[in-house]
Amino acid sequence: MQLRTLAIEDLAQVMDLERRLFQNEAWLEQTMAAEIASPQTHYVGAFDGSLLGYAGLKVSGPSYSCDVQTIGVEPESQGKSIGRTLMNELLAFAKRQGSEEVFLEVKAGNESAIGLYLSLGFEQIDVRKRYYQPSGEDALVMRMPISQPVVLGIESTCDETGVGIVRGNRLLANALHSSMDEHAKYGGVVPEVAARAHLEAISPTLDAALAEAGIGYEDIDAVAVANGPGLSGALMVGIGAAKGLAVALDKPIYAVNHLVGHVGADVLERGAVEVPTIALLVSGGHTSLLLVRDLLNDTQLLGETIDDAAGEAFDKVARVLGLPYPGGPQIEKIAAEGDPNAIRFPRGLTLPKDLEKHKYNFSFSGLKTAVARHVEKLEDGGQEYSKPDVAASFREAVIDVLLTKSLWACEEFGVKRLLLGGGVVANARLRQEAEQRCQEAGIELRIPRFSLCTDNGAMIAALGSQLIMDGREPSGLDFGAESTLPVTTVQTT
């Protein structure tokens, strides 16, 4: 017997069996077709040459519950555990989706089905009188709880010490300690300063996360930690702490990819990362464009910066303009008064000659130099100039190239969805421009709340939870920091 997901090509066989089983209560063909085709359902069939049975589940998203829509087994094949096999597949799917409970209705007189559901762990919670028409038979409403793992995630790839806690896809806590202020006098993140700050912050941040979640260490089922990409010395603090915690609690540990974590953060917003999606991750350390067809199995790096990260460019240009670190908010503030079209700064790697090798790569070093030259020339000539105009024009150049390439990717790969992540998403002008361009192009724009866009522990916990729900084995205890971990390595085993 073969179990597989049903496709619309199976409709005739399904309807044939549906009519035989349910006669005048059978679904209409168009209802069944819509159910099988819906992205919110999971329909499976058991085949042995022909269809022996089928079952369907509806994910009532965005929520944490599922409903069993239908189940049917060919009369001659009943009593062969086909119904149980189908149900187990639906329940496994519900668990992978992050559901915390599954509901179903069953005819009050269908003793064999009720027996099956009870043995699987369902309990009767209600009766719906005269639910089935035209027979007028009562329906029992049954519910089965699904326990989802409580995962604590640690993030220490750059200057934020993050500890997040999730249960399945549900956010329980997202505690953060930032060492940003300590880097201000240096004009950028200093790895040694960041690593020292992580060590001081780790215990208080762990305590803060547990308090926020209202749970104790004994409630944790697994530990996740970002082991790259990032600053090696900073990563090692998080890894040391995560391993200490896993050993103390005698729980499994998952070493996960920080960048994939950024993409996965959206599960905490809508219960799932809707795929396929193009993801643009922009921060002080990264500028990456990803094509995500499946969060755990198929994430592809389309391009990244070949020199400075976008956030770094904001920091450097802020310094050219005599503004303090971090540059993003400073540029944002004065750019509000400026004309974004006052100066045409270069859009890196967008010329026809660049497109062959660098269509989806970014370069901001030349832009920063162009801004510096422009300012130096004016200052050397003793000319007055408008800092707001320079800031606004620079910002426009960055945003233009980020979004232009993101939309190129949506078009080339036929993906109608764009997800933004990373600290630069704090830039209101970026969000505004992204909304406008996506709307014009008919593309759905996803931006998780800001606390899930910047580096945070919750996204690491959420990715660990996804791996567990997918049935992945934990990582060994001997993984290390991988400062250049490729985005294709979701988990270091």
């Binding site: 040694e192 780790i202 762990l206 090692m236 391993k243 005698d250 510096a372 205890l477 993984f479």
Partner: protein, 194 residues
């Protein structure tokens, strides 16, 4: 039951029942701290056939030592002590090395990288100076001290902690001892045009 951890040179863990050493694990690799830390800890526990929640105290070497590896051991020790609800004790590693020796006047040095040494001086087991960073050429100034230059490990850290706790010596400081500021100076920013 005391677990000691040290990542000031290699990566090591040791387990003591009272003052009796039950087990110890030592990884020599000077770069593999993140990789080896959990193996060292689970190694000593499994050799003694004990679960983590049998621990009553944790001691950790807090330097001075090269920073990146040092922090791994301290981070792990902090994360162990929290959920287990046990005491965490910080051991200045030069004290632990000196405690393992019998010389009357002792200059303990370890590699501080960048051509420098971490150093502390002891007379009859009592620290007279240090820890500090010194230039190797200046060790000649300590002619009336026996010189010892060897790495610390968890066994030394554990033995010192057991003695110090018995004597009522304060080991409550568990932050890393760096002795040097982060190696960075604020840049004034460079011109790009000539």
């Amino acid at each position: 039951m005391l677990l000691s951890i040290d990542t000031s040179a290699g990566t090591s863990a040791a387990l003591f029942d009272g003052k009796r050493l039950l087990s110890s694990v030592f990884f020599d690799d000077p770069f593999g701290h993140a990789e080896n830390i959990a193996k060292a800890i689970t190694g000593v526990l499994s050799q003694a056939d004990l679960p983590a929640n049998a621990l009553e105290n944790i001691a950790v070497g807090i330097g001075p030592a090269p920073y990146t590896g040092l922090r791994v051991g301290i981070a792990a020790a902090k994360a162990l002590a929290g959920p287990l609800g046990v005491g965490l004790h910080g051991v200045m590693v030069l004290d632990a090395i000196a405690f393992s020796r019998t010389e009357e006047r002792l200059l303990v040095t370890t590699d501080a990288k960048r051509g420098e040494l971490f150093a502390a001086g002891y007379v009859f087991g009592k620290r007279e100076f240090g820890p500090r960073v010194i230039d190797p050429s200046t060790t000649a100034e300590f002619g009336d001290y026996e010189h010892v230059s060897e790495p610390a490990d968890a066994e030394k850290v554990g033995r010192y902690a057991l003695w110090a706790l018995e004597k009522g010596i304060d080991l409550s400081e568990t932050g890393a001892i760096y002795l040097r500021s982060p190696d960075v100076t604020p840049s004034p920013g460079k011109r790009v045009s000539g």
